[in-house]
């Protein structure tokens, strides 16, 4: 069967599976819709969290980014996994004990204030929309690359699928489709990675092959070989960093703190039954994420070594078939500047003849390793699973924020459950349409908005929730002014350098050498300092709030 045939078959089968699960897991109550009834098993929640978290960017782009920036890629690897340690130890168990449905629920109740709830709602909706636009775009891109349809058509198909299970099933439908999507995406990631590892290093485990010797020369380590190839062409050695230490430090911190503060991840821990389950499911989640995240840097180095060997000073005419296949899609470009018929690949723009899109490192892997056609179809299905699962989780946060935090808890407190559920469905539907619109017409600044989403989550939610649990004296005045100061500081810095004065966006102008990507970590410090200072000069929280804090710190319900 052809690549196209296999892709249609595998993608079609996985979509049928997701729809089947959606019909089986319909939401009957608002509790089903918001937190899947609160009875999800820790293992299932771990898988769902992993799929929720790993987006199109993790699946398609991350290995490629690492293969171009070498050791500095660790900011993403550590940043997007280390946040789970913070989440598991500092937030998840206590939020589970608190026992309501959303992050604005917690912020509003803990800080006994509608204003605090509103700040949280605005942040949650803003963060989720910036994120979801990229996911819908990702769905469209996978469709267009593997099935030769227009990106718009791909976005539209993705919208219909997400609409179906998010609107019908709410969190319940999303949870069980995410479990299936995790299985699809991890299988699709590992199969080509294992084959490439065997091809390059004779080692079946990519994480070990990464540090092993070459299949072609058992006396040379892969990474030494890669360092040699890179420096020969004038690039930095692969295992050396080029970002400054302080910038790496702050970007990693911003991504970690942002990860722990992202509402669509936090809300997953409301779906399990007990505090104990919340703890262990954070462990499972990180384990499942780490399977992909420890494979990605191995794939990055294999792909980089393979690429440099294949193209360096070789004849353009003799390139393998995958080279011309991906040239057709525009992801590889060759411009013979000195007309010698050979490919020169260098860091110097005036002599470099090759342009390579980072996504190629994952997408073209099956062809580079000469794997059977069905593996290509599997990679397409995996990319779609990663994008759809993240999109659905984000859409749910938006719909919950509107139906519960705005309508039920702020404007119409006496709404019936049936009507609330209806509003939640309408809001989910509306969010799908808006997300689809941004998928078709992406705002020009998608890349910067990711820094934005993480920066804001780090500077707003993380400190507000942390102080809410660990400080009994933190009051509403402190928390609100902290959140507002953190957000304004972070947003101003990012907007100044990426939108207003992009020509100043370099280490000479940055404060302390911190790039906009890493400023959220400083924003969190600003939030903490302002919050603690303001709370010192204002009234302590009321007695019932201090009792609430004592309750959430202990797993068992006392006095019952």
């Amino acid at each position: 069967m052809s690549i196209q045939g296999w892709t249609f078959l595998i993608v079609g089968l996985t979509f049928a599976l997701y729809i089947g699960i959606a019909i089986w897991a319909r939401a009957a109550t608002t509790k089903d819709f918001y937190v899947a009834g609160g009875g999800v098993s820790p293992l299932a929640n771990g898988m769902a969290t992993a799929a929720d978290w790993m987006s199109a960017a993790s699946f398609i782009s991350m290995a490629g980014i690492i293969s171009f920036i070498g050791r500095d890629g660790s900011v993403y690897l550590m940043g997007w996994t280390g946040g789970y340690v913070l989440l598991a130890l500092l937030l998840a168990p206590y939020l589970r004990k608190f026992g309501k449905f959303t992050v604005p629920d917690f912020v509003g109740d803990r800080y006994y204030s509608t204003a605090a709830r509103m700040v949280a709602v605005v942040c949650a909706v803003f963060i989720s929309f910036t994120y979801v636009a990229g996911q819908m775009r990702g769905v469209g891109i996978v469709f267009s690359r593997f099935l030769s349809v227009e990106i718009e058509t791909g976005v539209f198909i993705g919208m219909i699928i997400v609409f179906f299970y998010a609107v019908l099933g709410g969190m319940k439908g999303i949870t069980y489709t995410q479990v299936a999507q995790y299985c699809v995406l991890i299988f699709a990631y590992l199969v080509p990675a294992i084959f490439i590892s065997m091809l390059m290093t004779n080692n079946i485990i990519p994480q070990f092959g990464f540090g092993g010797t070459l299949a072609s020369d058992p006396n040379v380590y892969l990474l030494d070989h890669l360092d040699g190839l890179s420096t020969e062409l004038g690039f930095d050695a692969y295992t050396d960093g080029s970002k400054s230490t302080i910038d790496v430090f702050f970007i990693t911190a911003a991504l970690m703190l942002g990860t722990a503060g992202l509402p669509h991840v936090i809300v997953r821990f409301f779906t399990v039954k007990k505090v104990r389950d919340a703890r262990i499911s954070a462990g499972y989640a990180l384990l499942f994420i780490a399977i992909l995240y420890t494979t990605a840097p191995a794939v990055a180095s294999f792909a980089r070594a393979n690429l440099l060997e294949t193209v360096d000073n070789e004849s353009y005419q003799e390139m393998p078939e995958w080279f011309s296949n991906w040239e057709d899609t525009g992801l590889i470009g060759f411009d013979d500047k000195n007309s010698d018929g050979l490919i020169q690949y260098t860091p110097d723009e005036s002599t470099n003849e090759l342009t390579i899109d980072q996504d190629i490192m994952v997408l073209a892997n099956p062809e580079i390793a000469q794997l059977p056609n069905w593996v290509v179809g599997l990679v397409a299905a995996g990319g779609l699973a990663a994008a759809l699962s993240t999109a659905a989780g984000l859409l749910l946060v938006i719909s919950t924020s509107v139906a519960r935090d705005l309508i039920r808890r702020t404007f119409v407190p006496d709404i019936t459950q049936k009507r609330e559920l209806l509003f939640a469905r309408i809001a989910a539907g509306g969010a799908v349409i808006i997300a689809g619109y941004f998928g078709v017409n992406p705002p020009g600044f998608v890349a910067q908005t990711v820094a934005f989403a993480f920066g804001l989550a780090a500077a707003s939610f993380f400190p507000a929730i942390l102080l809410g649990i660990f400080s009994k004296t933190m009051n509403k005045e402190g928390a609100i002014s902290g959140m507002v100061a953190g957000i304004l500081f972070t947003a101003a810095y990012i907007i100044y350098f990426t939108f207003m004065n992009p020509e100043f966006n370099n280490a000479d102008h940055w404060w302390f050498g911190i790039s906009p990507e890493g400023i959220g970590a400083l924003g969190m410090v600003v939030n903490l300092i302002i919050a603690v200072t303001v709370s010192r000069f204002t009234k302590n929280p009321p007695l019932n709030i201090r009792e609430l804090i004592e309750t959430i710190r202990i797993p068992r319900d006392l006095e019952k």
Binding site: G82, V85, G211, Y221, R279, A290, I554, R556, L558
Partner: protein, 86 residues
């Protein structure tokens, strides 16, 4: 009153666990993977320079372990203070 001191002791022990585990978390990622990465690169394990290994592999393995250790410690602590859920 007795309940209250029990809860305080439980919380203090929890904070001690958090401080130790987050200390390790900081040392493997920000320490070995960022601040001392170049210095550690003079040592090797297999084909990896040690600092590079911490930055792209080792820190993540430790993160996973830390959460499971935390789960074990807290479940034990819950039972000891009879704060575990029934």
């Amino acid at each position: 009153m007795l309940m209250k001191t029990k809860a305080q002791q439980y919380w203090r022990q929890n904070l001690i666990y958090l401080a130790s585990l987050l200390g390790i978390w900081f040392v493997v990622s920000y320490g070995a993977g960022i601040l001392f990465v170049d210095w550690l690169d003079q040592f090797r394990i297999g084909g990896f320079k040690l600092g590079f290994w911490f930055a792209q592999q080792g820190s993540m393995y430790v993160f996973v372990l830390l959460i499971f250790v935390y789960v074990y410690l807290m479940n034990r602590l819950d039972r000891k203070f009879e704060f575990d859920e029934v």
